[in-house]
Amino acid sequence: MDPQSTIVLGKAIGAGLAMIGAAGGGIGIGLSVGGAVMAMGRNPDHTATIQTNMILGVAFAEAVAIYALVVSLIILFVLS
């Protein structure tokens, strides 16, 4: 196997592994949205507050996944 192919292989594997981190973000978003929906179902009067906090929480949870995305983008496009 020539060195170029090895580099491509390594980059692909590395980027793929980095994106495993996105799973955590997915789980977090799922939990927070699920909780928010349950809360909205229990007391619909506070929907606005719950929604705001849910979006904040989702943003923070998604940030982790985004770090993974950044790492994998850097592996794919910046490393050479």
Partner: protein, 471 residues
């Protein structure tokens, strides 16, 4: 004109569908080439008044700005001049409903002294990002463009120059009216690779011939050994040698055939591979194979592979030497970090600005919270929390920009790949991307509004909130 587009001309949709079927059957799909930075236009296209190379994402950005300005003209013409006037115009109603709904929405989140600023920021970001996101739904964006010799220009930090590197691409074909198009069914194999493959086949053939010869020699030696053991007479030996020689001549034809077969087998395989590609209408290397003629052709091929032209005429013979890709005229601006990062920075700056505006210099205690360091046993924790907030605020830039970029980049690649897999019906994914565009625009704008609102609320609720209200 109105009666033309009033929904009764559904045959327009049918015609477009049929055109899609025709194109899908006639033109082979192009495998997407994915690149994160906006593709540079060919040399000579610069951003006006600068020496920055024009990128297709920047063209998309300019289109978004122009659309927004046209939108401003439209709305300011259509909007009622006072509360008594009844608005006119179909699309305007939609905008007004959206506007009023979002006003209530933001009012529920950040209704307060700074509502106007927060709402204006929210709405501007929303409209800009929404338009930018929805550009990916326009047919032709990301697909229609220059047929571009795919040579990657790489900036060399040491010399300060752009280096030309050839990368993977496709061959071009002359289609209707001499229009060139990229043939996605042929992977581009560079002339150098072709020559290398020819060379490899040649080497393999020689090796095989050598092997076959050695095998024959071994066989012959074994045969001599057998002969020696069978009869020990000198005459026999001489006869055997002579006869062997004579046999050698007799069997030479068969043996050389065997060697030639071994020699020709890899070459034939290579020829079959090339002819298979030629049957698909693909390019099969420069000049005849090296084994077909003398080495002069080989040298010529080597010469050709050395100077691959950067921007050849697509109709010339040189075009065969270059990989080609479609360089779209317009790409979705949200897939460019320049836009998302700028918006994230603006959002970040506005968050800090509104914080200072609302709380004065006391806003800094949110980050550098030394007030309780010596008063409370938990003062150290407060300091650490403040520093974490500082880091978190900078991390917002990253998460804002890459959230938008990641979603829309992935979305446009999804659309591209789905169009490649299912040439006629990627419509469900268009609907999906329609909603993703709205949601991402809303999330970007809403998070900005929420963080701006949070920045106006004092960290210390008891004393400083009253202080802020007194302002």
């Amino acid at each position: 004109m109105n009666s033309f587009w009033n929904g009764k001309r559904r045959f327009v949709a049918l015609l477009m569908f049929l055109a899609g079927v025709f194109v899908a059957l006639r033109v082979p799909p192009v495998i997407p080439f994915i690149q994160l930075p906006g593709e540079n236009f060919p040399a000579g296209f610069n951003v006006p008044f600068t020496d920055i190379r024009l990128t297709n994402t920047f063209v998309g950005s300019v289109i978004v700005w122009i659309l927004l300005l046209l939108f401003v003209v439209y709305v300011s013409r259509r909007r009622p001049k006072d509360g008594n006037e009844v608005p006119t115009g179909g699309f305007y109603y939609l905008f007004e409903v959206l506007f009023e709904g979002l006003m209530g929405f933001v009012g529920g989140i950040a209704g307060g002294r700074h509502f106007r600023l927060i709402f204006n920021m929210f709405m501007t970001i929303f409209l800009v990002v929404l338009l930018a996101n929805w550009m990916e739904l326009i047919p032709g964006v990301d697909t229609i463009g220059f047929i571009h010799a795919h040579t990657k220009e790489k900036y060399d930090a040491q010399t300060g120059e752009y280096k030309v590197i050839t990368t993977d691409g496709y061959e071009i074909y002359q289609g209707f009216l001499g229009i060139s198009y990229v043939n996605g069914q042929c992977d581009w194999i560079s002339p150098a690779d072709e020559a290398a493959a020819d060379q490899a086949a040649l080497v393999a053939a020689e090796m095989a011939a050598l092997n076959a010869e050695q095998e024959l020699e071994v066989k012959a030696a074994y045969a001599r050994y057998q002969a020696e053991h069978d009869d020990h007479s000198e005459g026999d030996q001489a006869e055997a040698a002579g006869g062997g020689h004579g046999d050698d001549h007799g069997e030479a034809a068969g043996e050389s055939d065997q060697v030639a077969d071994a020699y020709n087998e890899p070459l034939a395989a290579r020829e079959a591979e090339k002819s298979a590609r030629a049957d698909r209408g693909c390019y099969t290397g420069v000049g005849p194979a090296p084994w077909a003629d003398d080495g002069a052709e080989d040298a010529q091929a080597d010469d050709k592979k050395r100077d691959i032209p950067l921007h050849p005429d697509p109709r010339s013979e040189e075009a065969k030497l270059v990989p080609w890709v479609v360089l779209p005229f317009v790409r979705v601006p949200s897939t460019d970090l320049n836009m998302t990062l700028t918006l994230a920075l603006i959002s970040f700056v506005m968050i800090q600005y509104i914080g200072f505006k609302a709380l004065g210099i006391g806003y800094l205690t949110k980050f550098f919270n030394f007030g309780t360091l010596f008063k409370s046993p938990l003062g150290g924790i407060d300091v650490a929390v403040g520093l974490l907030e500082l880091i978190g605020d900078f991390a917002k830039i990253l998460s804002f920009s890459f959230r938008l970029l990641g979603n829309i980049f992935a979305g446009s690649i999804l659309l591209f790949v789905m169009s490649f897999l299912v040439p006629i019906l990627p419509w469900p994914f268009f609907i999906l991307e329609f909603f993703v565009g709205v949601i991402q625009a809303l999330v970007f704008a809403l998070l900005t509004a929420i963080f701006m609102n949070l920045a106006t609320i004092s960290h210390h609720h008891d004393d400083e909130h009253d202080h802020a209200d007194a302002h």
